[in-house]
Structures are given as structure tokens and as C-alpha cells.
């Protein structure tokens, strides 16, 4: 029997699920290897668990989703999160520093129908996660590599090193050194192929913190470049702002100003 694969969505923009669809031929080949039994973004058929491999996109922002993720975990042999929302809480985690009541009233004409949590939290704060694929959106090649490894029953391996390594492999000119442009590359996990530096701009940190990083030195570097206070804090409180090292660093910057 082919392994049963499911793709779930929580609070997210669907961009990571789209990477499955962007895989084109590779997705068709995957369909030959595994039975995609639940993937609302792609097809109507929705089969109940158990699942051998569950991909989870999005963060937990509602009481209903906080319950649903537990069910997904119970039904799944491997649970792999895809994207910044699932791994770090996503851009919507900005609410974690704000007053949710105010948001609710400002955004919705009938706020009483909105049932929401005051926080956006990563999947790993709710259930055990077997593997996290980072990125906003995730990289298609990484997604396929992890899927292949898990179908083989092997431990997936993705690089945890800095974007700078990819940047230098591509022969880009460093924007910090040649232009004094702030760049999150030194503290960000590789995976995008240093897309932004290749376009001559600083890295936004889409893939979250590199596994070896030095946030204190990085904050000092930003300050040297004239990026201070709120500006420095906002650079870290982006797509992956709620993940621990960046959260702590941004909070420290906010406290200092």
C-alpha cells in the first residue's frame, strides 16, 4: 500500500502549499509514489486519517485550530511543518505584541462573530513536530528532498547554515560590505539561494534563524550601520519575528530605545 500523504492548512496565505502545485511534474511523480489523500488546495477528495506523512502549513490563531492540530498529530505518523507561519507564527504573530481586542474592533464590522486567540503561535508550541521546513514561502527543492527522505524512512537533512554561504557560492557582491545595506543573511538559515542579495538587496530573513548565529553581534552591526531602535526591531520582527532568538533580540532592542 502506498503511503498516505495529507496537507493541512492553518492560519496562512497558502503560498507554501502552492509550492507543491508549482512542483509540476515532480508532483505527478510524487502521486505515483504516495497517495495524496487530503489536500483541499489541490483536490476535492478528502479522506480521513491515519496519515503516514502530514504536512502542516500555517500557525495556530483560533481555539478551533488549537484543537484541530492535536487531532492532526494523533492521526499522523510524521508531522512536517511547512513555512514560516507554522515554524515561527508567521507575520500574523505581530499580534503577539499588540492588543487583539483593538484589532478585532478595527478590522471586523461585527467583531462578536470573531473567535480568535490573542496570539499566533508555531505548531511546535502545540504538538510534537518531526521536522520543520522553513521559508516564506518554502523552497520547492527542499520540500521534495524532505518528502523523498521520509518516504525512504530516512532522516531528512537540510542546511542550517547562514544565507551568506549560499550568497558567496553564487558569487554575489555582499551588500553590507559594498553598500552598507542592512542584510539579515549572517543570522538567517540558507534555503532561498540568497535570492535578495542576488538582486542587490539585503536578506529579509524568510528562512528564520540559522542554527549558529550571534544576535548580539548582529544587533551591534545593525547599530553600526545606523539601523537603530524601532527600525532595527522591525527588521527582526518580520515574517519570523516570534521565533525565539529574533524575538528576544527584537525585544531587547525595543527595551533599549
Amino acid at each position: 500500500m502506498k503511503p498516505r500523504v495529507a496537507v493541512f492548512k492553518f492560519a496562512s496565505c497558502d503560498g507554501c502549499q502552492l509550492q507543491f502545485l508549482n512542483a509540476g511534474d515532480e508532483l505527478l511523480k510524487l502521486a505515483g509514489q504516495a497517495d495524496i489523500v487530503y489536500f483541499p488546495e489541490a483536490r476535492g477528495r478528502a479522506l480521513a486519517g491515519p496519515y503516514d506523512l502530514a504536512f502542516v502549513e500555517g500557525s495556530v490563531t483560533t481555539p478551533a485550530d488549537a484543537r484541530r492540530i492535536i487531532e492532526v498529530r494523533e492521526e499522523s505518523r510524521y508531522l512536517v511543518t511547512i513555512g514560516a507561519c507554522a515554524a515561527a507564527g508567521g507575520i500574523q504573530a505581530l499580534r503577539n505584541w499588540a492588543d487583539i481586542e483593538q484589532y478585532r474592533r478595527a478590522v471586523y464590522p461585527s467583531p462578536e462573530f470573531i473567535s480568535t486567540l490573542s496570539t499566533s503561535t508555531p505548531i511546535s508550541e502545540h504538538v510534537r513536530v518531526d521536522f520543520e521546513i522553513w521559508g516564506c514561502p518554502i523552497d520547492k527543492t527542499q520540500l521534495l528532498a524532505v518528502t523523498r527522505s521520509l518516504l525512504f524512512g530516512a532522516q531528512p537533512v537540510l542546511p542550517g547554515h547562514s544565507v551568506c554561504i549560499e550568497c558567496k557560492r553564487s558569487g554575489n557582491a555582499c551588500v553590507i560590505v559594498t553598500r552598507g545595506e542592512p542584510c539579515l543573511g549572517p543570522v538567517t538559515r540558507a534555503g532561498c539561494g540568497a535570492l535578495c542579495p542576488a538582486m542587490n538587496r539585503g536578506c529579509y530573513g524568510c528562512f528564520g534563524p540559522a542554527d549558529a548565529h550571534n544576535m548580539e553581534s548582529f544587533a551591534a552591526l545593525l547599530a553600526d550601520q545606523g539601523v537603530r531602535g524601532d527600525d532595527a526591531m522591525r527588521r527582526l520582527r518580520g515574517i519570523n519575528g516570534y521565533v525565539r532568538p529574533w524575538r528576544e533580540s527584537a525585544d531587547a532592542l525595543a527595551a533599549k530605545k
Binding site: A145, C164, A173, P186, A210, H213, N214, L221
Partner: protein, 368 residues
């Protein structure tokens, strides 16, 4: 024949054309995105003529230099390294067969390359990489293929960057080995000297005639002045012993507080050779491609062995890098791993300077 000849600046276009006709892909420093890197050139006009670089720790800028000066830019982040030891390169293709599997080596194929504007430290670095990739019986076919037919036109440095310290490492600023042709740029033309039979033949093809003693003396004087004005220095006296003895010096933690562990220093270093090997498997599970990519001792996974990580902290990794580069490299390969090109200083976003670190460790030795 080893005599110096006079080469008009216009003859550089001839040289490029002849090399092109002989089947070389001709490479030279080309300005792009605010720095230079070796890239294909079709004429001297593709070189950064009239431009100079301004370098310091963590900072690099190109700026207008001296009219007509062709080799005014000392160097950029890109050394010769990526052209011989490729940043990412497929090595093997492994296919599933009816029984077992079959592995095929992927041969690299490229026309021979000719490099114009190579500095003395670049050549010294390439000689070090040769000792790694062409060592004894253990020869890297991919590296060797690109290496064996390459042609090098060196340029003696008549100006150093403030980050350079080749004099300390005894690798420059004058090219002494590893080139086919070496040029010294004077305001009115080049003094050219051959370094190989191919270089001698090239001088004949270019129809160059012997240089006057005055030109040779002027060339020497400029190089000597460059050597005297070297921006940085490193005291190498008994350096391996110093670094081994000072393995617990508090300076390692002090530099680690500044080090981002981003690995830029090792990426730009022309001698660093660490790499990782990755298997990229097709989704149907029938074919896997084995790819070698540049890696670094600053990446955490590089020190990961079964069950433990040997260098979990940044100070472990910075110490590993510097101690390997300047000390155990000598035990391993018979020379220092540093040629004094200064790239790791300029291209470190945090502006960490190994000459300063070595000096600080020396100054505090035995007090730790």
C-alpha cells in the same frame, strides 16, 4: 630566455585576442555590483580601467582612480578559487538498476581558461590548493581538468590594499612562480616577463622587444614601494607554537562575541577547501545526484559527527579556523594556509581582522 620585455598597453588587446583564438576562455577582473570578480572578457575595455578599490575591515568600495590605469583594482571577493574548486558541482549520478544500483562519475567539461590580472597572492593560494586537490595519488579529477590547461597572466602589485599583508606571508607583491606571463604596469606601458615556455612563446607571438634598464628599474621601484607601504602585517615567528599554546587564551571568547559565525571569511579565502557532499534524490527514488558544495568550519553541521558536535560554540569554531589556517595547515601541507590577501578582513561583515587577533593573542600569551 627570461628577460623583461616592453609591452605597450594596446598589446593587451592582442594578448586577449591571441588567447581567444587559441581556444581559451579569457577571464579578467570585471567590475560588477561594486566589486570585481574574474569573468569573461573580450577586450581590455572590459577591465575596470581607471578604477581603484578602497578596502578596510568590513568595507569595500570602487571609486574613480587614475586615467588609463588598467589594473588599479587590487582584488575583490572573488579569487581564482571558484574557477578551479567549484562552489557547487555534481560528482556522481547513482541510478537504481533491476538489481542494485549503478554509479556514474559526472565528468566536468569546460574549455581551458586564461586568467589575466592574477596577483602574486592568488598564485600562491592556487599552489596551496594544488597541494590539497592534486595531492600524491589523491587527485581530484574535476579540479585537475580545469587546472592543467590554464594560462596565467600575473600582474605585480604596485599598490596594495590596506588589508593586504603578503609581505608578512612571503607571497607578494611581486609574482615569482606559477604564471606564464607577468606584467608590471607603468604609467606608459607594461614590463612583461615570461614564467614558462608558453609565456616565452606568447612574447614572441606578441612581437615584444627587450625592455630598457630604466623600465625594469622603474617596475622594481614601484613593487618595492608597494612592499614597503603594505597596510597590514602579521608576525609569523613561531606562530604554530603560539596558537597551540594559547588554545585557552581568553581572546578566543572575546573575538567570538563579535563573530557572527556567518562563514564569509572562509568563503572568500582563496585557500579554504572545506566542502560538504549532498545527495539530491529524484522524487521517484530511482536516481540520486551527488553534489559537492563549499562548506565552512563556521557552519555548525560541519563539526557534527555521530551523536555529538565537536565545535558547538563560536569560539571553538573561530579558534579552529585560525589555528588550522596558520598552524596545523603547516603540519598538514607544509605551508601556511594564509597568503595574506586580506579578503577575510574586508569581507567580514563584522570587520574581524585576523592580523589583529593574532597580535592580541601574542600580546597576551602566557597570561591566560
Amino acid at each position: 630566455m627570461n628577460e623583461a620585455t616592453r609591452m605597450p598597453k594596446a598589446a593587451l588587446d592582442n594578448l586577449i585576442a591571441i588567447l581567444g583564438r587559441e581556444g581559451y576562455r579569457v577571464m579578467g577582473p570585471v567590475a560588477r555590483d561594486g566589486t570585481v570578480a574574474f569573468d569573461e572578457i573580450r577586450s581590455a575595455a572590459d577591465l575596470p580601467v581607471g578604477i581603484r578599490d578602497a578596502q578596510e575591515a568590513g568595507r569595500y568600495r570602487l571609486a574613480p582612480g587614475i586615467d588609463g590605469e588598467i589594473f588599479g583594482v587590487v582584488n575583490g571577493a572573488g579569487s581564482l578559487k571558484p574557477h578551479f574548486f567549484a562552489p557547487a558541482e555534481p560528482l556522481l549520478e547513482i541510478r537504481r538498476e533491476r538489481r542494485g544500483f549503478k554509479a556514474n562519475e559526472i565528468a566536468s567539461a569546460a574549455p581551458p581558461h586564461a586568467f589575466i590580472g592574477v596577483r602574486a597572492c592568488d598564485l600562491a593560494a592556487l599552489a596551496i590548493q594544488d597541494r590539497i586537490f592534486l595531492h600524491d595519488r589523491f587527485r581530484d579529477a574535476h579540479y585537475e581538468l580545469r587546472r592543467k590547461d590554464a594560462f596565467f597572466v600575473a600582474v605585480d602589485c604596485t599598490r596594495s590594499a590596506p588589508t593586504c599583508f603578503c609581505v608578512s606571508m612571503k607571497t607578494g607583491p611581486r609574482a615569482t612562480a606559477g604564471f606564464d606571463l607577468a606584467l608590471t604596469e607603468l604609467p606608459g606601458g607594461f614590463v612583461a616577463r615570461p614564467g614558462s615556455p608558453a609565456g616565452e612563446a606568447m612574447i614572441v607571438k606578441l612581437g615584444l622587444s627587450a625592455a630598457g634598464g630604466a623600465d625594469e628599474a622603474a617596475a622594481r621601484a614601484l613593487i618595492d614601494e608597494c612592499a614597503r607601504g603594505m597596510g597590514r602585517r602579521m608576525d609569523t615567528a613561531d606562530l604554530p607554537r603560539l596558537l597551540y599554546d594559547e588554545a585557552e587564551n581568553p581572546r578566543w571568547r572575546e573575538v567570538a562575541a563579535r563573530c557572527l559565525s556567518c562563514a564569509n571569511c572562509t568563503m572568500v579565502c582563496p585557500t579554504c577547501f572545506c566542502h560538504t557532499v549532498i545527495d539530491q534524490t529524484e522524487i521517484d527514488g530511482n536516481m540520486s545526484r551527488r553534489v559537492r558544495k563549499w562548506d565552512s568550519c563556521f557552519s555548525l553541521e560541519h563539526a557534527h559527527i555521530h551523536g555529538i558536535n565537536l565545535r558547538p560554540k563560536i569560539h571553538d569554531r573561530y579558534r579552529q579556523w585560525l589555528t588550522h589556517k596558520l598552524a596545523s595547515w603547516i603540519d598538514q601541507f607544509g605551508s601556511s594556509g594564509c597568503v595574506g590577501c586580506g579578503r577575510c578582513i574586508t569581507w567580514c561583515p563584522a570587520g574581524i581582522d585576523l592580523t589583529e587577533e593574532v597580535a592580541a593573542i601574542r600580546a597576551s600569551a602566557g597570561k591566560g
